[in-house]
Amino acid sequence: MSQSNNNAGLASPTGLASGLGGQGMREVVAIIAVAFIVIGGGEFLLRAFDVPQFILPTPSAIGAVFASSEMATIGQHYGYTLVELFAGYAIGASVGLVLAAVITQFPFVEKVITPYILLLVTTPMLALVPLLILNFGFGYAPRIIAVALASGPMVMINAATGFRRVDTMKIALARSCGASTLQIFTKIRVPMAMPMVIVGLMIGAIFGMITAVGAEMSGGGFGLGSRLTTYSSTLRMPEFFACILILAVTGITIYAFFFWLGKKLAGWES
């Protein structure tokens, strides 16, 4: 039935992007049809083979969670997770951006600092969470710090790549018009860095979310990650998968937002 889809969808770079752009009914129909087949097929197979709910719950059981009274609890804990994510990311991303913009102007400083940034990028921040909890208790603090530490270096290292892109001719053009160092920065360097800055912001946000949930699973008793621990240890799989679904949708939303932002601010590239 969706075979009559005249490669209108294939021509666009990503199905998601064109779907967001509201391009053509045909694509929307195809997306819904595929989702219907996947979810319906899953439901059918799980029922047909009589798979127990605690191994893999049916889509309908997961869907039912969203209508149940448990949803209030899940929603509340999701709110905690979002607070950690936004707070940690705001700190991490802004520090990362400022560092990237400043450091790339001073090659010597950059050489000295880059190894430490790389160290932060490659160290799984989750591993530090027990230590952070030891130092900062079971509240928001260790999680926000972990999110900032996970997202900041990601933002920084990508943004720095962007700020390092120097186009002598474009800078000469600005200078020939009498541009100051600040004007060269705002009118040439920042726009040139923008595509990489947005990539950094996106990766940073997604790493931040992963770290927030992971940190919650390490202890503290609140947040969606702690719900995951609770539900899995009590074999409440429909609730468990409902939380996973919420996190997946959050991740996709982050991706879609930065995709949109990238088109708006750096659409000139590619």
């Binding site: 053009l173 020939s176 018009c177």
Partner: protein, 265 residues
């Protein structure tokens, strides 16, 4: 043409040395040059002869090691609002629309863009209605037209052109040369053109300056006698051909310098 020397461009004893591990390289040595207001000159020479260094110094983008450059009675020590510059390729900022690109010099100088002048210039170069397009939507020739508008929008006295049409195909290049001559006849800017194409240099200029490398010096000045306006047919005449060959011969028989010793310019 009137000999208005009030805004003549004068270069006196321009010398530029670059320090390298093997010692200093003379990119320019004691270059003297006078361009009358409204005159169109072109500079040709082998790569590494310092012609770009000379042009960038006039633009205020390079500091001379010694010597001076003056526009009228004003010394040029940095970028000057009366000097506009066109770069190799169009050098448009890809994140700005054509109009926003043209407005950049105004923005940098905190001046309100002259919208009427920009519109009439856009129409003049055949880009009327393209102001809101992005550079990537335009062909190479159209992009270069936009960069002409950008250089002329603030009505400079002097226009510097740094190999502006090197990346264009031969037909587009001829077309651009014709357009540049027309615009020059209408506006009578003082123009200095740097080019690798001797035909282009001869077609456009009143005088062709030949430079030699190591050290970068002006070795010869040739007056171009052809009347204006010039048509593209001129390029097929014997006289034109002879003049081009004369210049080519002159450049080829400059004292040879080993390739490795050529400085960057």
């Amino acid at each position: 043409m009137n000999q208005t020397t009030d805004k003549a461009l004068n270069v006196r004893g321009a010398t530029k040395t670059y320090g390298t591990q093997t010692g200093g390289v003379h990119a320019l040595k004691d270059v003297d040059l006078t361009v009358r207001q409204g005159e169109f000159i072109s500079i040709v020479g082998p790569s590494g002869c310092g012609k770009t260094t000379l042009l960038w110094s006039i633009a205020g983008l390079h500091k001379l090691t010694s010597g001076a450059i003056a526009l009228g009675d004003e010394f040029i020590t940095g970028p000057h609002p009366s000097i506009g510059m066109m770069f190799q390729e169009a050098n448009l900022l890809p994140w700005r629309s054509i109009r926003k690109n043209i407005e950049l010099p105004f923005e940098i100088r905190h001046r309100r863009p002259d919208a009427a002048r920009i519109d009439s210039l856009l129409n003049r170069v055949g880009l009327g209605g393209f102001g809101d397009r992005m550079p990537r939507e335009l062909s190479g020739g159209m992009q270069q037209r936009a960069s002409i508008v950008r250089a002329l929008a603030s009505d400079p006295t002097v226009l510097l052109m740094d190999e502006p049409f090197g990346a264009l195909d031969a037909f587009t290049r001829d077309e651009m040369n014709k357009l540049v001559e027309e615009i020059w006849l209408e506006s009578r800017k003082t123009v200095i053109l740097i080019t690798h194409s001797i035909a282009e240099a001869v077609f456009l200029a009143d005088k062709v300056y030949i430079m030699s490398a190591r050290p970068g010096q002006i070795s010869r000045v040739i007056d171009v006698p052809f009347p204006r306006p010039r048509s593209l047919d001129l390029m097929e005449t014997r006289e034109f051909f002879d003049l081009v060959n004369l210049i080519k011969h002159d450049i080829q028989h400059q004292p040879k310098v080993p390739n490795a010793a050529r400085g960057a310019a």
